[in-house]
Structure formats: structure tokens, C-alpha cells
């Protein structure tokens, strides 16, 4: 069973600050996905990365897949209160998707 560890577990910052959250595993994944989940809702897909070393940008969010396809990071520039939520990473291999426990981000105005 693949184990995905996300860090930090909780993060509280002020509006305008930058932050990075991490997703690490000892397993190799064919793809890795990042989701954001708000209270009372299901996770919403932000990005899928499939190539080692790949970097994808989504407005103020930058996602990187590690060269060995075992880890990933999410960097948010100039965080806004609307970025508040639970950020989940999920690794896929052989059509088997496993989720990390998430990083709960709070951005204070």
C-alpha cells in the first residue's frame, strides 16, 4: 500500500504571504494529483502531473513533480483568503489512487 505523507498538517498565514506544502512517498507514481477541498464539499481537482521534474502553473499556484516521481510540492504566491481549504495530494499507479491526509491552510485577511 502506497503511503503519501503531507506536510505541514496545518498552516495558518497572513494574506499576501507565500507558502509551500509538500507531498512525499517512498513509492513511485505514474501520476500525481492535487485537490482542494472546502468544508462540506468534495475535493476539486487542481492539477495532474505525470512527468518527473514537471512544473505546472495555475495562476498563483505552482506545482512540481519530483524527478523520481515520488514527491511533489505546491507553492502559492501571495496567498488570499479564498485559498483557504484542505489541500490533498493523491498518487496513482496501475489505476490505484491513494490520498494523503492533507494540509489544512488558513489564510487570514
Amino acid at each position: 500500500t502506497q503511503l503519501l505523507e503531507q506536510s505541514p498538517q496545518f498552516l495558518s498565514i497572513q494574506e499576501g504571504e507565500n507558502l509551500t506544502v509538500y507531498c512525499n512517498s517512498s513509492s513511485v507514481f505514474s501520476s500525481l494529483q492535487w485537490y482542494r477541498q472546502e468544508p462540506g464539499e468534495g475535493p476539486v481537482l487542481l492539477v495532474t502531473v505525470v512527468t518527473g521534474g514537471e512544473v505546472k502553473k495555475l495562476k498563483r499556484l505552482t506545482f512540481q513533480f519530483g524527478d523520481a516521481r515520488k514527491d511533489s510540492s505546491l507553492h502559492i504566491t501571495a496567498a488570499q483568503p479564498g485559498d483557504t481549504g484542505l489541500y490533498l495530494c493523491a498518487g496513482e499507479d496501475n489505476n490505484d489512487m491513494r490520498f494523503g491526509a492533507g494540509t489544512r491552510l488558513t489564510v487570514k485577511p
Binding site: 494529483q33 462540506g40 464539499e41 468534495g42 475535493p43 490533498l88 489505476n95 489512487m97 491526509a101
Partner: protein, 112 residues
């Protein structure tokens, strides 16, 4: 495109009672998943269907949980009898390969 529909949104039952959840995936999505998300944790896969066949149910507590996907479209997840530790959000998701998962809003189950 309509999203993944789940019902009910909330359910409160007493322990040892039965409960069923319903999911209607996105049209054309062959793969359907049920996840259990306990407060403070990430989603845990319970069962995965490909059309109407089970692909992975290794983490489904089969003594009390059951799921079916008749005709390869809608799916139901049942718990009988419920235990206190089953209190969680039950998420349904569907996917087309390489396009990521689309989740429903979930059913929040409270067992008292």
C-alpha cells in the same frame, strides 16, 4: 456538464441501523469510486468499479459494507449494521482515465 450527484447530503442514524447512499456519476465515466473520509483525514478508497464490475474492494469492510453498480451507471453503498466509527463523509467520484477524478459533495453520516 453535470457533476457527480450524491444523496442524501446528511444522514443521522443510531448504531446497528442500516443506511444506504446513492451516487450518479458523470455521464460516460466508466470508473466509479466510493471513498470514506473521516474528520481530519484524507479520503480512503472503499471500492472501485469499472463499468459494473468491481476492480478493487480490498479496503471495504465486507462484513457490514456492500456496494453495487447495476447497469454500470448509478451506484449504491450500504452499511448494515452501522457502528459509531462509521461516522464520516462518504464521497463518490467518477473518472475517465488520465483526466483526474470528479467528486460529488458527499454524504455526511453521523452514527449515534
Amino acid at each position: 456538464e453535470a457533476g457527480v450527484a450524491q444523496s442524501p447530503r446528511y444522514k443521522i442514524i443510531e448504531k446497528r441501523q442500516s443506511v444506504a447512499f446513492w451516487c450518479n456519476p458523470i455521464s460516460g465515466h466508466a470508473t466509479l469510486y466510493w471513498y470514506q473520509q473521516i474528520l481530519g483525514q484524507g479520503p480512503k478508497l472503499l471500492i472501485q468499479f469499472q463499468n459494473n464490475g468491481v476492480v478493487d474492494d480490498s479496503q471495504l469492510p465486507k462484513d457490514r459494507f456492500s456496494a453495487e453498480r447495476l447497469k454500470g451507471v448509478d451506484s449504491t453503498l450500504k452499511i448494515q449494521p452501522a457502528k459509531l466509527e462509521d461516522s464520516a463523509v462518504y464521497l463518490c467520484a467518477s473518472s475517465q482515465r488520465n483526466y483526474g477524478y470528479t467528486f460529488g459533495s458527499g454524504t455526511r453520516l453521523t452514527v449515534v
